[in-house]
């Protein structure tokens, strides 16, 4: 079965074997060079492994883009307390569906990355915290973990190196907030997935109160490549601040939606119009959310930028998780934003007042605007609530909920005003 979404302009480092059923099992993976990176890593001092990853400039693919090597270097080196690695496979950001494919097609790529990371940070136990809804993928991963144990890549004295590691696949129970790293840790411990106050950060006090490194699936899947081929090799792609390749999950009003892996210096516009084929026949794009629903929307005029972290930031948004949502002129922006905010209202863990109450008020106000019952004062009210609920909470979900509201009002105020003044919608149905 060929992977349905491919484009010759992609750089397929991570997704090279997508669609190849044979690559899923451990034999097929080893035939394709799997676990040689692990062998190499185990023959290298832990700190040197961390150094390579630091040098490669690999940044976290879960959304925040924090340098992975730097994060690892925060872990204690004295081995006094138990420590952990958690692979964040919760992937619930609206518009994001890349980790799922990485685990589905190349479970051993992810597992190898986890083992190397665990070795580097001196963890004794690693967890894959995976969204419970990914039932089929949980099965794939569990099979792969058994295989890895059988071959001695997990368990005691891995490949004769003296390093021991256990790996557990832990399924979540369907809350978006469990993807936030400290919510994840609480959930892993059997508590409600409520984000924790930081500091302390997970590297100081993570799972079960012990030092923990949390990394995204895609981040970890990149690690074997870097360890095997070196930092310079990895830096052949991307920019100084954003090296390497990244998977973009493209969805919405596009001719060829799908996962595309491109170097981080690729053009956003080309990604949208070239690889994804632009909007359907006869439609115009209104805008694109480039990094999952938590980042500001870019209008069609703002797409002329690099997909690097700094490139998209300069254009006024964030790379985020790489979940790209395209909206064409059939979209009612008020409705789209209301749907997004409703999602956050539903998924707020409810701890912080600004988030719990704020998301609910935003939803209620947006609903009345959408219904045609809005008032002009609702616009400043939305901006006021939005700005005061951002930047003051335990985790950034509260900001995420305010982002689409504030950015859509800034860029599409006319649509709001049409609803409020005329009770009409500018979407072209």
């Amino acid at each position: 079965m060929a992977y349905p979404y491919e484009h010759p302009r992609e750089e397929r480092m991570l997704s090279r074997y997508f669609g190849e059923v044979d690559a899923i099992g451990i034999d097929g993976w080893i035939e394709r060079g799997g676990y040689t990176a692990l062998e190499k890593a185990l023959g290298t001092a832990q700190d040197d492994v961390i150094q390579v990853v630091k040098d490669s400039g690999l940044r976290g693919r879960g959304g925040a883009g924090f340098p992975a090597g730097l994060k690892w270097s925060f872990m204690p080196k004295d081995g006094k307390a138990p420590s952990y690695v958690a692979c964040n496979a919760d992937e619930s950001e609206p518009g994001t569906f890349k980790d799922r494919e990485l685990m589905r097609w190349t479970p051993h790529q992810v597992i190898e990355g986890i083992i190397i990371a665990s070795y580097a940070v001196r963890a004794q136990h690693a967890y894959i915290y995976i969204r419970g809804e990914f039932v089929d993928i949980v099965r794939v991963l569990n099979g792969a973990v058994v295989e890895a144990y059988e071959r001695g890549y997990l368990g005691m004295n891995i490949l004769g190196s003296g390093y021991d590691l256990d790996l557990t696949v832990h399924t979540g129970a369907g809350a978006y907030i469990a993807g936030e790293e400290t919510g994840l840790l609480n959930s892993l411990e059997g508590r409600r997935a409520e984000p924790r106050v930081k500091p302390p950060f997970p590297a100081q006090k993570g799972a079960f109160g012990m030092p923990t490194t949390v990394n995204n699936v895609e981040t970890l899947a990149s690690v074997p490549h870097i360890v095997l081929n070196g930092a310079d090799w990895y830096r052949q792609w991307g920019t100084e601040k954003s090296p390497g390749t990244k998977l973009f999950s493209c969805c919405g009003h596009l001719q060829r939606p799908g996962n595309y892996e491109v170097p981080l210096d690729f053009s956003l516009k080309e990604l949208v119009y070239d690889l994804c084929g632009g909007p359907p026949e006869g439609r115009e794009l209104l805008g694109v959310i480039p990094g999952g629903s938590s980042v500001p929307i870019l209008t069609v005029d703002e797409l002329d930028c690099e997909v690097s972290y700094e490139g998209i930031e300069a254009a006024g948004s964030f790379l985020g998780s790489g979940g790209l949502i395209a909206m064409d002129d059939s979209t009612c922006m008020v409705r789209a934003v209301r749907r997004m905010v409703e999602f956050y209202a539903h998924e707020s863990c409810g701890q912080c007042t600004p988030c719990r109450e704020g998301t609910s008020w935003l939803t209620k106000i947006l609903r009345r605007i959408e219904r045609g019952d809005g008032r002009e004062e609702d616009i400043p009210l939305l901006l006021d609530v939005g700005s005061n609920m951002a930047g003051s909470t335990i985790c950034p979900l509260s900001d995420s909920a305010a982002v689409p509201v504030v950015s859509s009002i800034q860029k599409f105020e006319d649509e709001y005003m049409a609803h409020i003044r005329d009770g009409s919608c500018t979407a072209k149905r």
Binding site: S348, C352, T353, T359, L381, S392
Partner: protein
């Protein structure tokens, strides 16, 4: 309790342009406080672990995200802005968000008048009607709890109640349910509060800042605290001695609500009795006039059907005044007091002083206890004076006096925090010493290894790291085996034993035969577990041993305590932080009443009656000659009444009809007395046998000092005026004494306290002034500067040799073992909501509502086997009597055992119990006798 690592490192930062240096680990909130800067907040309470959820306290530390001051720790060089336009806007918006969705009427504002959200709104000048946000969808109220009103519409999800329940009281009842805007606090798995496992301690309502959780009214409507008088006092119930502020409505002459207050004994915590059990003082059945038995009500006998052992006319647990009052007539104080004094005097003259006896009470103050024993000794001329300590820890005290020369605890319960290991044995701590239990639970959650050893698996066992479910009455075998292991594996403290103990050889010889394998046969604990637990204990750097009446109320009670003392001496666990012996005292003043000399063989402060020196000291102090012979103990006095050697008695606040073993015998004994004067606040079961009844003041109506289980002496202050003609107990004692020819006159309780302390070296230096507000531990050599001595005996013991003595003892079975006819083992004791003979708690609205009825606890499998329905009735019979009551399936009770609470007159446990005594402590075997269980149709 929040444990913070101690640190000497300091940090300097700038807050609002001012520099401040604080210890590392301090929060911004606390650092700001140092500078006098108050940061607004809703979720933070200094007693609770900060969580930073309300976000009201956010401050600018120059980061992308505003930091919550209550939880963010300071860092060197940090620059903090606590106030700016941006912050004000944030806080204002937050207040608006919360307020727009708030309950239309805040129950807190209506009741105590201190709703924190509404106060914040007032500060910001926010008018609810002016808020443009759409209002909420309405959230329900839950009025199912007997003590707390829940209004979800007023809940701001600040999490305080959850932390209070989880981390202060460790009851783990409250959590959150739902997500986002649908989040709610919930009880257990989201059931109504009244149906949950909530134990009604009220800690959650005490910390809730809003109208979401508020106390229900008890007697008078709850009113704003600033409109009420506040009285700093203590709790009238158990030996923990929690410090309480009573808020009093002067016009209604009633306590309106109670709050925990700061004290080392209770850290502002309370249990259901302390918080909601104060209204008994206002019960309509209070005695208000002196009563004299009518001539036509002789010969004496029980009056109410319950005491007669008949089917009651009316259901319910209280004395039916219609049945008993016609036997008495109202009298003047002159007449009643003259009658009492004359009759007592007559008996003394006719039959000699030893035909008289007095029972004082551990519910009365030190002053009253002191004066009462002075009356019996100096005026009656006998040492026949005792009280219910005989029934709870007499054996513990006997063992302690014998081995270490002092009957009190060697360390306070809160020091469990410093213990590596804590042993709790024979104690249902969560129900009987609920607030002491919170300290133990705290410690167990924070690194102290908790070993619970009990024949019942009670609440505290859930917190244990090691729980040993031993067979009833097998304690000595287990402890001997543990000591066998400690000696065999050399886990003993040789240096300590060399310096501070004696008699080890005898112990070593005796425990040789107690191999864990041998003990296993007796106590039912596998030998390996015995070894394991012995090692945990032996390897502890510090270990503290708590015990309750499961240890003391046996014919082997003294032996049981001797074993625990040996265990502690063997391992050198005395006199250091986190170590010690702590028999958990039952009543609020059982320690003090004993200290004050309400014991037949000792004068105040344990000065021996048998010692000519002591006798001389008190003869001089009191100006009379005293009986050199120790007097009779409680059960011996009752036996004396039965055979006619005791003829006249004065009872101050004691209700032996329900509290003493073998109730049928007690009934005969009381009826047999020539003269009985009962002084009490209600007409008790015992008072039905009285010739004269004197109405006394309740705890709330008088001043006095009370000494808790820790040896902490605290002042109880008068909160309300007594009803009718009721008078102070001490005044009545003085009246009787004077009328009997020994003049006693004091101006106040304080003056009595001064006389007592002058004769009791342990209390020397204490007075009402230096005891306020939080009390002091005795001994307290320097009351001006110190809280008293917490750790006793770090350098030897007050014994003749200065050493602690090992007293080796062999295992002996209980006196009455199960057989074919009486195949079950009967155990008796208390439950959380009730107190002793129920006279107070059953007249307390909330406590009675929670537990209105007697019920025994049995293993569900036994009930199934007997064919008893869930919540069906059983008939319990022993060789001494029969009662019928409800049975509750309780998995923590082992098969073959029955537990019966003794608070309920209509199904009095002590009809069943065996009055056989421990030979040393003279304590009856309340915890063990053979019983037959039969299915019954309904309550008899």
């Amino acid at each position: 309790m929040i444990k913070r690592a101690k640190t000497t490192q300091t940090i300097t930062l700038t807050i609002d342009g001012r520099e401040v240096t604080v210890p590392a680990g301090t929060t911004i909130w606390d650092a700001a406080k140092e500078l006098g800067i108050e940061i607004p907040g809703l979720c933070h309470d200094p007693r609770l672990r900060p969580v930073g959820v309300c976000r009201m306290c956010v401050v600018d530390v120059g980061e992308r995200v505003l930091a919550a001051a209550c939880v963010r720790e300071v860092a060197d060089g940090m620059t903090v802005q606590t106030n700016s336009e941006k912050l004000e806007r944030c806080r204002r918006t937050l207040t608006e968000l919360l307020l727009s969705d708030y309950a239309t009427e805040s129950l807190r504002e209506q009741k105590t008048g201190d709703d924190a959200l509404l106060a914040l709104a007032r500060d910001y000048g926010i008018e609810r009607s002016a808020i443009e946000l759409p209002a909420g969808d309405g959230r329900p109220q839950d009025l199912s709890s007997p003590v707390i009103d829940v209004d979800h519409a007023a809940c701001i999800l600040c999490d305080r109640c959850i932390r209070a329940c989880d981390e202060v009281q460790h009851n783990n009842v409250i959590g959150r349910t739902g997500k986002g805007y649908g989040s709610r606090v919930s009880f257990d798995f989201n059931v109504p509060m009244g149906d949950s496992t909530c134990v009604a301690c009220g800690e959650c309502a005490a910390v809730c800042p809003t109208g979401a959780l508020t106390d229900k009214r008890l007697i008078v409507p709850i009113q704003p605290r600033n409109e009420l008088d506040s009285v700093q006092s203590v709790c009238p119930y158990c030996g923990v001695g929690c410090a309480i502020t009573y808020h009093v409505d002067r016009d209604a002459n009633a306590v309106v609500f109670a709050e925990g207050r700061e004290s080392p004994a209770s850290d502002s915590r309370l249990c259901v009795k302390g918080r909601y059990g104060f209204d008994y003082a206002k019960h309509p059945q209070r005695l208000t006039v002196p009563l004299i038995r009518r001539d036509d009500s002789y010969p004496k006998g029980p009056l109410s059907s319950a005491v007669k052992g008949e089917r009651r006319k009316k259901p319910g647990g209280l004395v039916d005044y219609d049945e008993v009052m016609p036997a008495f007539r109202e009298a003047t104080w002159e007449e009643a007091l003259d009658l009492a004094a004359n009759r007592l005097k007559e008996i003394k003259e006719k039959d000699g002083p030893s035909a008289l006896a007095g029972f004082g009470s551990a519910k009365c103050s030190n002053e009253e206890a002191y004066l009462f024993q002075k009356l019996v000794r100096a005026v009656f001329g006998t040492n026949n004076v005792d009280h219910c300590t005989r029934l709870c820890h007499a054996s513990s005290v006997a063992a302690l006096l014998e081995t270490i020369g002092s009957g009190a605890v060697t360390n306070v319960f809160a020091d469990v925090h410093n213990a590596d290991v804590a042993v709790v044995t024979g104690s249902n701590t969560t129900e009987n010493h609920p607030v002491a239990a919170t300290f133990i639970k705290d410690a167990a959650a924070d690194g102290t290894t908790l070993i619970v050893i009990d024949s019942r698996e009670t609440g505290i066992a859930r917190h244990a790291h090691h729980f040993l479910h031993i067979k009833a009455g097998s304690d000595v075998a287990l402890y001997n085996a543990m000591m066998h292991v400690l000696i065999e594996e050399d886990l003993v403290d040789h240096d300590y034993m060399r310096d501070f103990t004696e008699g080890f050889d005898g112990l070593r010889e005796l425990v040789k035969k107690y191999t864990p394998e041998m003990a296993q046969e007796i106590c039912g604990i596998p030998a390996d577990r015995i070894r394991e637990v012995a090692r945990v204990f032996g390897r502890a750097g510090s270990a503290l041993v708590f015990w309750g009446m499961g240890i003391s109320q046996h014919t082997t009670g003294t032996d049981n305590a001797r074993c625990l003392i040996s265990l502690v001496l063997l391992t050198g666990n005395v006199g250091r932080p986190g170590t010690g012996l702590h028999p958990l005292r039952g009543q609020n003043n059982v320690q003090g009443a004993s200290d004050a000399g309400l014991i037949p063989m000792v004068y105040p402060d344990y000065q021996k009656v048998a010692s000519p020196e002591s006798q001389k000291k008190f003869e001089e102090a009191w100006g009379v000659s005293l009986d050199p012979n120790p007097g009779l103990t409680v059960v011996e006095i009752i036996n004396g009444a039965l055979v006619g050697s005791i003829k006249g008695m004065y009872m101050m606040g004691e209700n032996p009809f329900l509290s003493d073993p073998n109730g049928n015998k007690v009934r005969k004994a009381l009826a047999n007395l020539e003269f009985l004067c009962v002084q009490d606040i209600f007409l008790t079961e015992t008072a039905e046998f009285a010739d004269v009844i004197l109405p006394a003041t309740s705890f709330f109506e008088k001043y006095g000092t009370y000494t808790n289980s820790d040896r902490r002496v605290q002042v109880g202050q008068k909160a309300i005026e007594p009803p009718g003609q009721a008078r102070f107990d001490w005044e009545l004692v003085c009246e009787i004494a004077t009328r009997m020819g020994y003049s006693m006159s004091y101006k106040s309780a304080e003056e009595i306290f001064a006389e007592f302390t002058s004769l009791a070296p342990s209390y020397s230096g204490l007075d009402y002034e230096n005891l306020k507000p939080a009390g002091k531990l005795w001994p307290c050599p320097d009351p001006a500067t110190s809280d008293g001595v917490q750790l006793l005996f770090g350098d030897g013991f007050p014994t003749e040799s200065g050493r602690g003595k090992f007293v080796p003892v062999d295992y002996q079975p209980a006196a009455e073992l199960p057989d074919d006819e009486y195949p079950f083992i009967l155990n008796t004791g208390r439950i959380l909501e009730h107190w002793h003979t129920g006279t107070m708690t059953r007249r307390s609205k909330a406590l009675d509502a929670i537990e209105p009825e007697a019920a025994c606890q049995m293993n569900p499998d036994d009930l199934t086997e007997l064919g008893v329905d869930p919540d069906g009735y059983v008939k319990l019979s022993t060789r001494r009597g029969t009662i019928t009551l409800r049975a509750r399936g309780t998995p923590g009770v082992a098969r073959g055992n029955v537990f019966v609470p003794f608070h309920f007159r209509e199904a009095s446990a002590n009809i069943l119990t065996n009055d056989v005594l421990d030979p040393f402590g003279k304590i009856p075997e309340f915890k063990f006798c053979a019983v037959k269980v039969e299915k019954a149709g309904s309550a008899a």
